[in-house]
Assembly symmetry: C2
Homo-oligomer: 569 residues x 2
């Protein structure tokens, strides 16, 4: 491609509504252009990245034995009523009527439609298993679309659905897809991690998320650097401390702690570590009665775990200040278990504490020297906290580290949730009719573009992995209109690289070097060759990788061969 | 691809609602599956065809210098209000509200969005021209979707939009696109014709349709087999006859013609040719006054031409029987010009008639020997009929032939209809702001799939052109599970063809030969090789092209080379 024939549109400043780095850089580099909230045009530069991502996904899905089809974006309500999702899903499911006043939805996923296809076509165990996928536009009417294409309303997803004669075969395919996803993200050139995940709203059991690792990621992931263990912090088990609870050595003492409302303030006031305090969190119970949860002062409540406790209202809801005042007789910040008559749970790490500091249920007062069993009844023990770096790994092999990630893929064992509701059955080897087992496997194509940038950028712009860069290499001639020698050398290198199947762009726009370099660094093309009269006199061109700080002089005759050694794929 | 790993689902019978051959065959061969009226799943077999069509279009558009981008399916109403189309378009424009009650549409085309992009990005003549295209899902809420994917609601289109500094440059690009379209349809392997077309509702001037030639086509096309001339019959000029009008030789005679209401009945009754009669057609005039149109009895009124006559109401509306009775004093079927005081137009071919038969404005009576000027005033002359085969070609080079076609592409010179309304301007070389000239260029991707079948089928099924066949060649082993020799020979040929880049499928389903052949003939794979034990003993395999009636024996060692000579691409 010649730059003059392409569509390059870079901006000095990102628009004010761009909050995160990938959104800012994509807007500035001309990859996307906003059309409406959460709805973006994919400009030529951005579309090249998307197509490369799609192709890698397609190749790996095909290699894994899945078969591509395409289901409509507009789907009739009837199928969604069969599974109950037409009524159960929130406003993110866009519903509308056609000219004949019939109800339709825009697909956010396609479980209903694929199950409808399969129940019509596949009737015998001999036709199973099948894994069918599409790479298709999805719509989710987010209340507050944000982060550019990371949480947009219209986006592209690869969604695959597999059908099986039994659970064993579903588990086999689940492993197969796990492998395919690992290959996809490896080929995309991204640092990623597969993590055990909550199944969320889509239903079913058994699920992994694939995360692109990035400091700016929305999700916290606990992983064991020395093993395969990784889990969303929402789900990662905080194992019981191996150390026993020390015997009490201090007396229960009420002390005045004016202004110490938070654990930080309390620890600072008492000149102790936060891990010597116990944090009291009050949540709504099943019948409007508040439930008290005790955590070590330096730990955080895990809401997913807490919402599963017997007697706790789900989804988790923190008790209102009024409820707290009524139940404990004090303001939040001075609350504790002593004297509370309701249900109390304590985290596993609280169960091994002694001589702790707790709220006294009297404004601006705490107890020191509080001890379980001695000063208040032993509460039930549960795992209700988020793991932290240094916690023992649940697989017993060392300790956990924490990183942040962006979810870009998700695989589920759906089991029979959809096939049962929609009567998707087959005749087994024994002649009897059975409900199919199902799996589903999603990858956010456009989301990957954003996540790749969150993982790979610097102050000058994007740094694409070779496999998904809009162009693999840019040739920058110095003085295109001025020097015939430069034009010839640049064009000849361009032609040679293209002939070798390398996706090169020749910048023939005749821009000043500063503008040219700034554009390509912003756009993030990973390799650059500069050709100028001065170098040509010495028979040299200059190569520079996007992450490198200095250029390498390479003889013009060898530059094409040199570049090939630098490309990852 | 191995058939056992693919998704093959053929039906013995087409569903009852499939009216035309391409719809029936696509349903039977498992290319598409209906989801809702005018909304279809593209099954794996059909999607392979669509992807091949898309790739040819993409390659030719890129070669012609156009740049691909992708615009959202869901578009905000505001832009459509700027051009007035939000209100002006009928119910085929699907409008809906999002969760915040804001108005959106689903794109049937994207003139508004592309113009919005360009007015933001391109501000200088130096950035022009640009031709931007997308291959994207469209939605048109047809009142009565039919013909399968030929007139569906959700479909795939390639739509391109070009922007220019002046009309000259638009015309240059229009020619460029004309050439690109010719290359596209040639590469698709389809017999096609580019025809001058009415611009229709989309607006602008200068337009060609590209038609795939098929007897079942909706449109009639007049073309000159000896020149480049081709036009939709709606627009083709019927030139004035070269012969002068003969002098009157008969007297005006009123005769009783009981029951002769139509031209056919009249000519049969009088034992004359229909071309000796004059047909009277009455249409509504501008102010409710009927207008009389005279055509030679064997000719058909061209409504597009007639609607453009001065004094004729547009769009054309035939006068009601009551209006006719009131204005002429007789029923339709006995109407004529003698005595009618209103406006009369006659077709050019009527202007050279003498001694004609016309209605007498008295039920069941006609005149013979009627002559223009002598028996009634000479009406205004106009071209108001459809051309017929044998008419002189308007380009003066021989005579016209008529064929039928399916419109699959359309190119327009939009001029400034959208750029003016939306303020899409640039700074010219002279420093002055000017409105851009625009062109637009559409191809119906999914429609091509249907049209290709309408052009290429027989009683056994589809016959795909090589370039867009779901697979180029099928290898049919006789007795897959029984014979190791057959398995080995078939697998080895399959591997060899795949390595040579040939899109082969190996039918390892172990079906009976009859089922296997019927499936692949229905699906329309253009080349087939049969490998069986009997042939292998003689070292032979059997090749048969889909249009051939007999197989050719080819030595197994030479079969791969033989096949390559048979492939078109």
């Amino acid at each position: 491609m010649r730059a003059s024939q392409f569509y390059i549109s870079t901006l000095k400043e990102a628009p004010a509504d761009a909050e995160i780095v990938s959104h800012k850089l994509m807007m500035r580099a001309g990859f996307i252009k906003k059309l409406s909230a959460g709805i973006y045009n994919y400009m030529p530069m951005g579309l090249r990245v998307i197509r490369k991502i799609e192709n890698i996904i397609r190749e790996e899905m095909n290699r894994a034995g899945a078969v591509e089809l395409s289901m409509p974006i507009v789907q009739p309500a009837e199928l969604w009523q069969e599974t109950g999702r037409f009524d159960k899903m929130g406003d993110e499911l866009l519903r509308f009527k056609d000219r004949h006043q019939r109800d339709f939805v825009m697909q956010p996923t396609s479980e209903e439609v694929i199950t409808d296809i399969v129940r019509q076509d596949l009737r015998s165990y001999r036709q199973l298993p099948k894994n069918l996928y599409q790479i298709q536009t999805k719509f989710r009417d987010e209340r507050r679309p944000r982060f550019g294409i990371m949480r947009g309303r219209e986006f592209t997803m690869k969604d695959a659905y597999s059908f099986h004669k039994d659970f064993e075969d579903l588990k086999r395919e689940y492993q197969n897809m796990f492998g395919a996803y690992s290959s996809i993200f490896t080929r995309l050139g991204l640092e990623f991690r597969a993590v055990a995940a909550d199944t969320g709203a889509i239903g079913g059991t058994g699920s992994h998320e694939f995360h692109v690792i990035a400091e700016t990621g929305e999700d916290a992931i606990a992983y064991n650097p020395d093993s395969e263990y990784a889990a969303n912090v929402e789900l990662a088990e905080a194992v019981s401390p191996a150390t026993p609870r020390p015997a009490p050595s201090a007396a229960l003492t009420k002390i005045h702690t004016p202004g110490a409302k938070t654990i930080e303030q309390l620890a600072a006031f008492l000149k102790i570590d936060a891990n010597q305090t116990i944090k009291s969190v009050i949540v709504d119970g099943d019948e409007g009665v508040p439930v008290l949860l005790l955590l070590r002062g330096d730990h955080e409540l895990n809401e997913v775990k807490a919402s599963k406790l017997a007697g706790v209202f789900s989804p988790l809801r923190f008790a209102s200040p009024a409820t707290i005042r009524e139940a404990f007789g004090a303001e939040p910040g001075s609350i504790g278990p002593i004297g509370f008559q309701g249900k109390i749970y304590m985290d596993r790490s609280v169960a091994v504490m002694s001589d702790a500091v707790i709220g006294a249920n009297e404004n601006d007062y705490h107890y020191t020297g509080a001890n379980l069993g001695r000063d208040f009844p032993e509460p039930a023990v549960a795992d209700i906290r988020n793991v932290v770096a240094g916690d023992p790994s649940p697989d017993g092999k060392g300790t956990l580290a924490i990183c942040r990630g962006i979810e870009v893929g998700h695989i589920f064992q759906l089991r029979t949730r959809y096939s049962e509701a929609m009567g998707c059955k087959f005749i087994g080897e024994d002649g009897k009719e059975q409900v199919m087992e199902m799996g589903c496997y999603g990858v956010g194509v456009t989301r990957i573009m954003g996540a790749a940038i969150e993982q790979n950028f610097d102050e000058r712009g994007i740094i694409w992995p070779d496999a998904i860069a809009p162009f693999q290499i840019v040739i920058c001639p110095m003085g295109w209109s001025r020097s015939e020698a430069v034009r010839e050398a640049a064009t000849s290198l361009y032609t040679e690289l293209r002939a070798a199947g390398i996706d090169a762009i020749l910048d023939d726009r005749d821009e000043r070097p500063g503008v040219m370099f700034a554009d390509w660094e912003l756009i993030g093309v990973p390799h650059r060759v500069v050709i100028g009269d001065r170098g040509l006199k010495e028979g040299q061109a200059e190569y520079q990788g996007r992450r490198e700080t200095e250029a390498t002089k390479v003889p013009v005759a060898e530059i094409a061969a040199f570049i090939k050694t630098r490309l990852c794929n």
